[in-house]
């Protein structure tokens, strides 16, 4: 087994050409030995560029990348001890499965016998032994994916890099491979950096998720932290399916209550800012809105626009009551709730579920009461299956 490496990125930036915006901008990130870190974000957010920088396929324009405390900026990828899996597998099409796996070992001057033994070991690990003589075109998508994994593994890397490795697979196979990847990491424990735009993969596989946007890191945390305590409105909207409802509303104090227009009210003590009136951005997850009226909770008066029946639950697309509050939100309600388009609903949410964001910067105004400790237990675990 290879020695596992820790990775550190200090102020790493990458620009392609003089006139281009930075694909990666001032990224600071520490990855511990054996950790499974997922870089998550929409297309063009800089996650693949960051992975390529770690792999040594690109050189940073600024900042430093260290493996186990040693700066590797000038070190070629082959000397960093990384194994990489590409989105389209990148298998050598003219070589057999065995040759694909053996190529790297032979390139490094590993002897014939040792090469054969190590390839056989990995083929067995990935249940590919019977396919050793086949060429990539004779394999299914899932088998190709496993060969790509095997090729990255056979060199006994200290860091495992994966660039959207499951995106070319169909939904069923993707789920199956996701489980296999998780199992493999559990067994081998190699430091892994995994790029995806699929938050399901991120939430289920990661020890920590790095949410990126516009080349910058927006938030780093455990899947549970990212889900429950988003650092800003981007993360709030991006994580979750559907994402968090983010409502920009005016507010004013009315005794012990805060009223946001005609449609939203909550206890004044929850407000993380002072004053008598102003604007605030509220965040609430669709599944945290409930039809049960509970005194002391936040209340949302809404009109039902569309109801999607999804079997186990139904998804109600709502418009906040009152002409001036044209904010839309989604609520996940139980499958047997009697709700139909045009109905007027009063939904409630508890204080621990409500998030506040700065209306100017979009950053979280998290106080003690909505820290991770106050988050309903089990959400993260449930997502991680």
């Amino acid at each position: 087994m290879a020695v596992l490496a820790s990775i550190r990125l200090d102020g790493v930036s990458k620009s392609y050409g003089k006139d281009h915006d930075r694909a990666v901008a001032d990224v600071d990130l520490s990855i511990a030995q054996g950790e499974f870190v997922v870089l998550l974000g929409p297309s063009g957010c800089g996650k693949t560029s960051t992975l390529r920088l770690i792999a040594g396929l690109e050189k940073p324009t600024a900042g430093s990348i260290s493996f186990d405390g040693t700066v590797v900026n000038e070190l070629p990828g082959s000397s960093r001890g990384v194994g990489m899996v590409f989105q389209n597998y990148a298998l050598y099409p003219h070589m057999t499965v065995f040759e694909n796996l053996a190529f790297g070992l032979r390139s490094r001057g590993v002897g014939k016998q040792e090469t054969a033994a190590r390839v056989a070991e990995v083929l067995e690990l990935l249940e590919l032994s019977e396919l050793a003589r086949r060429r990539p075109r004779e394999l299914s998508g899932g088998q190709r994916q496993r060969v790509a994994l095997g090729r990255a593994l056979v060199g006994r890397p200290s860091v495992f890099l994966m660039d959207e490795p499951l995106s070319n697979l169909d939904a069923n196979l993707r789920e199956q491979m996701r489980i296999e990847l998780g199992r493999l990491h559990g067994r081998l424990g190699i430091t892994t950096v995994y790029v995806t735009h699929d938050q399901g993969e991120a939430m289920t596989l990661a020890d920590r998720v790095v949410v990126m946007e516009g080349g910058r890191i927006r938030q780093v945390g455990t899947p549970k932290d990212i889900y429950n305590a988003p650092s800003d409105t981007f993360v709030a909207r991006f994580i979750g399916s559907p994402g968090m409802n983010v409502l920009a509303l005016p507010w004013r104090r009315d005794g012990e209550q805060v009223l946001c227009g005609e449609s939203v009210s909550f206890p004044a003590e929850w407000l993380p800012m002072g004053g008598e009136a102003g604007r605030v951005v509220l965040g609430i997850r669709p599944e945290q809105l409930s039809l049960a009226e509970v005194s002391g909770n936040a209340h949302f008066s809404c009109r039902v626009d569309v109801v999607e029946q999804l079997g186990s639950h139904q998804q109600a697309h709502l418009v906040l009551a009152g002409g001036q509050d044209a904010n839309r939100l989604v609520a996940r309600l139980s499958g047997d709730a009697a709700v139909s388009a045009g109905d007027t609903l009063k939904l409630s949410a508890s204080g621990g579920d409500l998030r506040f964001f700065d209306p100017d910067t979009g950053l979280s105004l998290a106080g003690e009461m909505w820290s991770a400790a106050a988050v309903p237990a089990g959400v993260g675990e449930m997502e991680r299956g």
Partner: protein, 327 residues
Amino acid sequence: MALDLALREPRVDFGEVSRRRRLALPPRLAAVQEKLVGYGLVLPAAAVFTVFFYIPAIYLLYISFFHWSILSPATDFVGLKNFHTLFAQPLFWKSLLNSAYYTVVMIPATVFLALGVALLLREGLTAKRGGVFRAAVFLPHVTPVVATSIIWVWIFNPHFGLANYLLNLVHLPALGWLESTQWALPAVMIDSLWHSLGLYVIIFLAGLSRVPRELLEVASLDGAKRSRIFRRIVWPMISPTTFFVVVLATINTWQAFSQIYTMTGGAHGGAGGPAFSTTTDAVLVYQTAFIYLHFSLGAAMSVVLFLIILTLTGVQKWISDKIVFYR
């Protein structure tokens, strides 16, 4: 009444699709119509090809079995006599040898030079400047062979040419070039190579662009050196392109005529010299038919040339099936 209505053909309007279907021809007629359209589209090109290629080729084969002259049409069937006469001529064998020599040198030189230039263009240049260099490399190929060959005649002039001047600069003895039986054909080869290189470079660039970047990146992460990446990844991946270049270059070299004609004094009736050292098969065909007016013999030579190219292409195909990798 209700029963009557129910038993009638249901009048269902399925909209646009249904209307189209009702207007469409029955399947058989539709198939005929489709074929006619296909033939119609192919016809102009087929007509040109038939008039200027197939008919002359078949007629050439025909007259190779007759005694034929420009003044009297082919009436005297002579069987294989033209071929017997041909094989009895030492000059014919000399021309075959020259053609073989020309091909054996030109094919590897073409492949390796064109691939080398293509790799340099691909690796070392930005997209913007790469366009200029690609155009520069391709330019000789689009200039007329006769015009460029005249320039090469000047370059290879043994008394004041650039080639001997450069040899002189590096303290090498001057060569006779086009006046020497030993160096005349190599001089023609240099001209041919320079003229045709651009085409093959462009073909190789197209082949190289089809090698996925990820494969090269994976190989470099695997610790493979550049030479190994080229040998084990790039070379097999572009083998169909290489095969295409080899076939094309083989055909072109066996058919080489204009540059030899121009560089070896064809304008004065002396193409193929000195002392037949540049008389290739194609040159001999021309001289036999159009200088000495032995059209039947020239036709027989062309048939042999055709059979040689056909055989070589067949052999190349057989080899390629074993070593060329098609994705």
